[in-house]
Amino acid sequence: MTDATTAAVRERVLAAARACIAAQGLRRTTVDDIAAAAGISRATLYRAFPGGRDTILAALLEGERADLLASIGVALAEAGGLREELALGLCAAARWLTDNALLQRLMFEEPATVLTHVEFEQMDRTLEVATDAVGPLLERHLEPEAARRAGEWVTRIVLSFLLFPTDGVDLCDPASVEVLVDRHVLPGVLALAEDVRH
């Protein structure tokens, strides 16, 4: 297989995997289901993803992460100061996560599976990736080390408020996010930056 064909097969497999999981859940999605949905043989699938199901899921998550970070980047382009950057970034991240059919399906219908895989094993990795990506975005207003720590801290806020919703706090609503930013997020980020300086 040429590189171009492999890339095309990988694309098809990932699209099929996303559709299967959104339709029937992660637990019940097998490699056979994915191959059938992609219209390819098991052998072709395994050539593109030698690790099978786990590598397909990992690649799927990696792609989703990149897409999420791109949409945060777009939102931040319009931001003026740090306060606005935090508010727009939080809101963009929350909206992307909420609109994502795949994640919603996983989070609300198979939370235990997600909690064991995402929370306890993948979550640290998710935090790391998010920190690496979000940190530099905050460097316009913060020192690099402060930006890195603030990036992780803010990521925790987004994930925690989405996993454990609170009445009256809607991260997809810009007005609600502004209140949260003014009360907690901005003072917290400034305190972190202060801590880094000492």
Partner: protein, 193 residues
């Protein structure tokens, strides 16, 4: 049946369920195994848990939950500041979850067993942590109950985040926990002072 005796039998059966799961895993644990481990007859078990195995598993989750919060309360009751409450609470919670062998077994073997509890309880879990923190916020700085409630909610979100994934922090190291709590965990609400 007198209520204390009733509680005591339930406790014995649930401890037996715990031991049976730790010995043989969740899937292979039957009411017979629980009977053997707890020294109660099958009839006694069904009298206390008419739903049998499924009810036993649900009740065990609730029982461990209760014990967890009791342990937490004892650990922080004489703390002198909010930071100390959160510090001690974090260390104890982390240790309790790591030591709870039955939880590790269920997560590894059959995480979907926790699903009904998680789906029903993902909000209550947050509310429980917030309720737990609330009196300490009132004692240590928040006289306005509305403020205390809001701060408890925010703090509960942060606590759950660090317990679920400590990231680069080692929650077994008291010095690191001290720094984490003072520099990061309380960062979003310390400005109130």
């Amino acid at each position: 049946m007198n209520p204390t005796y009733h509680q005591e039998v339930r406790r014995r059966i649930l401890e037996g369920t715990n031991r049976a799961i730790c010995a043989g895993g969740v899937r292979r644990t039957s009411v017979e195994d629980v009977a053997r481990e707890s020294g109660c007859s099958r009839a006694t078990i069904y009298r206390h848990f008419p739903g049998g195995r499924d009810e036993l598993l649900d009740a065990l989750v609730a029982y461990e939950h209760q014990r967890f919060f009791l342990r937490l309360s004892l650990a922080v009751e004489d703390a002198r500041s909010l930071a100390e409450v959160v510090e001690r609470g974090l260390v104890v919670a982390h240790r309790a979850l790591a030591e709870l062998e039955v939880l590790q077994i269920v997560l590894r073997e059959q995480p979907e067993l926790l699903e009904p509890t998680l789906v029903r309880a993902s909000r209550p879990t947050l509310a429980l942590v917030a309720d737990f923190l609330m009196p300490f916020l009132v004692t240590h700085g928040d006289e306005d109950p509305e403020c205390a409630e809001r701060h408890a909610d925010f703090l509960a979100h942060m606590v759950l985040s660090y317990i679920a994934s400590p990231g680069r922090w080692d929650l077994d190291d008291p010095e690191q926990v001290r720094r984490l709590v003072r520099c990061e965990l309380l960062a979003g609400i310390e400005a109130r002072r």
